[in-house]
């Protein structure tokens, strides 16, 4: 449904005029009473209008999904357990690297239920128990939980307090019972614990850490109650304990030694053989412990697999009487014969993935192997006992942008002809999850989007003549029909069927998902970089993926062992050639997680999703500074700072160099050394002098440094104004026609430090030993503008910087509540510009360019308020011209996004505001900030695992686009002061038409009447 938005420039210009008018009035001092009066009356009405419009944003329930979309993800799957009983819903239980435990519909891939555990609560294993529970072990063996299979209700939770960090295992024995109660065994923190499956009660506990045993494996002896615990003492001694599963008593204990020493990489093969590597990693040790007797054999790996180089790794797979060894880009599948001999069954390329063995009928095992062939993926299911037999051999075509197969899980089913069929759950390099059955991809989940690292936006292409738009435009009749339906809806005449049709029509609105630029700037592309080093372009209209790209230059290579993506920046934004040039983005990555690893740069076309160019590995990248200059092709100049604080200029062209050298005397940057508590400021000194340097490298010059006393202050948080923020007015009119000039500078830095004890989480410090200090620092001169101490307050601090104010959230230990403080800064040196005479004579300094070196007199106003919730992220709305009032967007601990008007965080709020203040919209003082449920942007949804919220201005001044990401993605648009510059989407055009028709009819009728009456008069 095309909803032509009639913009009402009147109200917009009125607003701006008032602002400018009242400001300029003060400056010129023209106090003509009627004008001032008019301005006041106007502003009063404006404020009245605004206050009627409420301080929040709110939504009707039937508006859900009109402007927002929400996508639910789980993350990269670590473990998967199938639950496919004959009857009922078939599902697969998964746990992921984002600490999610979820139950997925095996038919469609939808989420039945999902639990997002705490950030430090990573899952060690999940198992299905007794057909009704999912048991999960998490926190390195610290927490054992049971979840109800159908609905995900937590049934019980047990904390296993071990004494020492160790490996963690979860074992659900099939028939280990004590008084009809099934046992669940968990190993963690050096202790083996047996827990009742009914209520999680701990039945027995055996501590192995006390015997300095490093447990490597815990296995149940098949068909008996005996549990084997295998481990090392020191590096050469091997210990085996046989434990009675019912009571935890040690039945038998045996040790033996191996002079070569064990490495900590071990594997269990076929219930009674342990395979390990020696310390050098070149000899394979097999430990046979059948019946409690230990026999150790060793064999050099080169004897088995021939020549190899580099690291050898035992893959953590259970393959029956086989194991997989990864060496020299190959995976060797080695089988262990009954006599304990090792034989290589097959050697495959290391790009292959192998599943665990699946028992499917009378002791037969199936193992799936997935490997890549050209553009296709070969899925082979082999018989574990006889590697030469193929049970299944299928070729599946998988999108090349999904990369290599990382993991595969298999499940069997009985076909209609009673033969065995297999389905495979495949985890790809981009973290997506696929179900493959009968050579087809049944469903796909884009779970890479659960680990978004950074987001930027680009505009969509301009509508061209060639582009066919007719498909989405409807004919007039449909349009009218739609509006008549809507009218029926508003007049409560619609039948339930009509209501459904109306809702479907509104949600389906093709207008919002078009692939072209719109007048209001609501349609954009969100370019999203994920942890899997994949770039996605999402349409803001409906959240669909337009393209995705697994960045080739960020993939694993010999030069780059563990590449990571870092940030994504807009690189080229064509305005002059918007018709025929595509925008592009810059992706910055690193070879390793450490800061001094070489950097990788990749340039990607934002419309086609293809990599234009890449460079790397290059110098290391500590900081990326987008400069406010562009070259003739509208590529933005970027300065990349390395760990030695040298600047590297991009793009590498003569032209860019020319522009940069012209401006280089005005380029400043700073570095924050959080560990040392030092902030240093730098400027450009000249070209690099070290060897192998090029023309685009620049040496830094130390300018200033701010050193915090390490024993009393630790840097915990900082915030800077956003570079793309637009500030509309420099002056703020206070009460009684007073005027304050905002101190607006992009070179400000907010830093919060806390006393060392107070820089950790809540609960570790007392009010006496906690203090929080906040600073406002000019990053050009290093001057500290403002410093304030909050006694008895502590981390975590979340701050947002905008215009001339900072708002920060911290914890107050004395009140034991969270607080939010605001600091507003004003420039006092411009304050005397109110004088008429000076203005007339021209002695004002308003036209003097502000410089950080001019040492302005700063006045800061500050106030604190209580806030209920813990905060995960905090940001502020951005609009195109900066006219619309601001709202804070707060990502709460409950994974919701709350909008809070900036006016609540005004330092001028007082208990009894004067009449003038009230007129201006100053809210009476309250000690805490209100949490209005209607102003949750996420309404009745949760953005699980929320990490950050970003805002992007739309072209329409009143509106800002909001994107929140975590495990889930959520997008909406928000008008902080309502959409004063356009009609809302539910504006009833039909009602307008109806009114006009009624008016015309009335005019005609009255016309006839009056004519008749006149005629009668004349006859009289």
């Amino acid at each position: 449904m095309p909803t032509p938005i009639i913009s009402l420039p009147l109200s917009l210009s009125l607003r701006t005029q008032i602002r400018q008018f009242s400001a300029s009035q003060e400056i010129e001092g023209a106090r003509s009473p009627p004008q001032a009066m008019a301005a006041r009356v106007l502003s009063f009405y404006l404020l009245l209008f605004l206050s009627i419009a409420q301080l929040g944003v709110s939504l009707y329930e039937d508006q859900v999904g009109l402007m927002d979309w929400h996508q639910r993800y789980i993350g990269k799957v670590k473990h998967a357990v199938f639950h496919t009983q004959r009857s009922g819903r078939k599902r697969v239980m998964v746990s992921t690297e984002q600490n999610v435990i979820a139950s997925l519909d095996l038919r469609h891939g939808d989420i039945f239920w999902r639990r997002v555990l705490g950030a430090n609560d990573s899952v060690d294993g999940i198992e299905l128990a007794f057909g009704k529970y999912v048991i999960s072990l998490s926190s390195a063996g610290g927490t054992l939980r049971a979840w109800n299979l159908p609905d995900g209700q937590m049934v019980w939770e047990t904390s296993l307090q071990g004494s020492k960090p160790s490996k963690a295992f979860l074992l659900v024995p099939t028939n280990l019972k004590v008084d009809k109660d099934n046992l669940v065994l968990a190993f963690g923190g050096g202790c083996l614990v047996a827990v009742s499956s009914i209520d999680g009660e701990m039945l027995w506990k055996k501590d192995f850490a006390a015997e300095s045993l490093e447990v490597q494996q815990v296995v149940q002896s098949p068909g008996s109650d005996v549990i084997y615990v295998l481990g090392f003492v020191g590096s050469t001694q091997f210990d085996i304990y046989q434990i009675n599963g019912k009571n935890g008593e040690v039945i038998h204990h045996e040790t033996s030694n191996y002079a070569g020493g064990f490495s900590r990489n071990t594997l269990i093969v076929s219930d009674d053989v342990l395979v390990a590597l020696d310390v050098t990693g070149s000899i394979l040790i097999t430990v046979n412990f059948q019946g409690g007797k230990v026999r150790i054999d060793d064999k050099p790996i080169s004897d088995l697999v021939g020549y190899y180089s580099g690291q050898v790794e035992l893959l953590a797979l259970r393959l029956g009487r086989m194991f997989a060894l990864k060496a020299h880009q190959h995976i060797a599948l080695i089988s262990v014969t009954n006599e304990g001999k090792l034989e290589v069954a097959e050697k495959v390329n290391s790009a292959a993935a192998i599943s665990d063995a699946l028992p499917f009928s009378e002791g037969q095992l199936a193992v799936a192997r997935v490997h890549h062939e050209d553009n296709k993926v070969q899925l082979t299911v082999k018989l574990g006992n006889d590697w030469s037999t193929n049970l299944l051999d299928e070729t599946v075509k998988i999108d090349g942008q999904r990369g290599l197969v990382q993991k595969v899980f298999i499940n069997n089913y009985i076909r209609t002809d009673r033969s065995h069929g297999f389905r495979a759950l495949v985890v790809m390099e981009d973290h997506s999850l696929l179900l493959v059955q009968q050579g087809e991809i049944v469903w796909t989940r884009e779970d890479g989007l659960a680990s978004v690292l950074d987001v930027t936006t680009t505009e969509l292409p301009v509508e061209k003549d060639g582009v066919s738009v007719s498909k989405v435009e409807q004919n007039l009749f449909d349009w009218l029909k739609g509006h008549v339906l809507k009218l029926k809806g508003t007049l409560m005449l619609a039948t339930p069927d009509d209501m459904v049709a109306i809702q479907a029509m509104r949600l389906k609105s093709s207008e919002k998902s078009k692939m072209t630029r719109d007048h209001n700037g609501f349609r954009k592309l969100l370019i999203v970089l994920t942890q899997a080093r994949k770039l996605y372009a999402l349409h803001t209209g409906d959240g669909r993926i337009i393209w995705s790209l697994l960045i080739g230059s960020l993939r694993k290579s010999d030069a780059c062992g563990h590449p990571v993506g870092l940030r994504v920046y807009p690189w080229q934004v064509p305005h002059h050639h918007a018709m025929d040039e595509n925008p592009s983005v810059l992706v910055v990555g690193r070879c390793q997680l450490s800061q001094d690893a070489p950097g990788i740069l990749s340039f990607v076309d934002a419309y086609t999703g293809s990599e234009i160019e890449s460079s790397g590995p290059v110098h290391d990248v500590l900081q990326v500074i987008p400069l406010p200059f562009t070259d003739s092709t509208e590529q933005r100049l970027h300065l990349l700072i390395d760990t030695k604080q040298r600047g590297h200029l991009y793009p590498r062209s003569r032209e860019a160099l020319g522009i940069f050298q012209q401006k280089s005397s005005n380029i400043y940057w700073y570095s924050i050394e959080t560990g040392n508590g030092i902030i240093r400021g730098y400027a450009i000194k000249g070209s690099c002098i070290h060897e192998d340097s090029d023309d685009f490298c620049f040496e830094p010059r130390d300018l200033w440094s701010v050193v915090f006393p390490g024993e009393s202050e630790k840097i915990i948080s900082m915030a800077t104004p956003k570079l793309n923020e637009v500030v509309h007015t420099q002056a703020k009119v206070m009460v009684e026609q007073d005027l304050m000039y905002k101190y607006i500078s992009k070179n400000l830095l907010f830093v919060a430090t806390a006393s060392p004890k107070a820089s950790h989480g809540i609960g570790s410090a007392t009010p006496e030993e906690a203090s929080l200090v906040v600073y406002l620092i000019d990053t050009v001169t290093g001057r500290v503008f403002y410093r304030m101490t909050h006694q008895g307050c502590q981390a975590p601090v979340h701050a947002v910087f905008s215009e001339n104010w900072v708002i920060y959230h911290y914890f107050n230990l004395r009140a034991h509540r969270y607080e939010m403080s605001v600091i507003e800064i004003y420039d006092q040196s411009r304050a005397d510009n109110k004088d008429v005479l000076k203005l007339v004579v021209g002695k004002h300094n308003l036209t003097v360019p502000t410089s950080s070196y001019s040492r302005p007199e700063i006045v800061a106003k500050s106030q604190s308020y209580f806030f209920t919730h813990s905060v995960k992220a905090i940001t502020v709305t951005l609009t195109a011209k900066g006219i619309t009032s601001k709202q804070m967007l707060i990502g709460t601990i409950g994974d919701q996004v709350l909008a809070l008007d900036k006016r609540y965080l005004d330092p001028r709020r007082s208990l009894n505001p004067s009449q003038a203040e009230k007129e201006e919209g100053v809210i009476p003082l309250t000690d805490s900030l209100p949490v209005i449920p209607q102003s949750y942007l996420t309404h009745a949804l949760k953005v699980e695992g929320l990490r950050d919220v970003i805002t992007v201005p739309a072209k329409l001044e009143s509106t800002t686009l909001v994107f929140a990401y975590g495990v889930d993605l959520f997008f909406t648009r928000l008008a902080p002061s309502r959409t004063y510059d356009s009609l809302t989407e539910d504006f009833s055009y039909a009602l307008l038409l109806l009114t006009i028709v009624a008016l015309v009819a009335a005019i005609v009728v009255t016309w006839i009447w009056s004519e008749r009456k006149e005629l009668q008069e004349k006859w009289r």
């Binding site: 555990l117 904390s159 609960g763 601990i893 009745a940």
Partner: protein, 207 residues
Amino acid sequence: MTEARIFITTLLFGLLCSSILRSAQAVALADGFTINGRVKIPSAVAGAKGFGLLGKISDVKVILNGGQRATFLRPDGYFSFHDVPAGTHLIEVAALGYFFSPIRVDVSARNPGKVQAALTENRRALKELVLEPLREEQYYEIREPFSIMSIVKSPMGLMVGFMLIVVFLMPKLMENMDPEEMRRAQEEMRSQGVPSLANFLPGATRN
């Protein structure tokens, strides 16, 4: 739909109210304490207003110290945090559809087994660690039912209303006018020579 909701409600009612109250307690362990508590959503609140729609008890998360740890509720509403060091802690309840006050919990090292708890929003001390929502949260504006007044108040309604006034009320006013004045006005009109509705209207408003 309604049936399902009633079922969920009764189920919850059963789950929440049938369980016996265990008092808040801290059990001393090797180096930490255990905080046991209970989240109770009164059946009156969880009633007909659609707890089943917004969220389930299985979705409720209890968070210690702003995200250090998180746990879930057992079917009877109980939760526990194990191995918590002595000190003052903060517990928050994240439940969609309800507003819970964060709770200040003092775990004392001197007399183990004692937990003091207080709501931070209104400083009310809790005898037992039973957390109840302060209020229900309604995330949506309620659409006002259709009324004539809303149409009348809309710009279109005002337009029509004004027109009606002019058409029907003005002639009445004219009738009540002094006949002499009326005549004068009519003469004036005649002198202008265009006897039409168009100048009749501004003439009327001038009065």
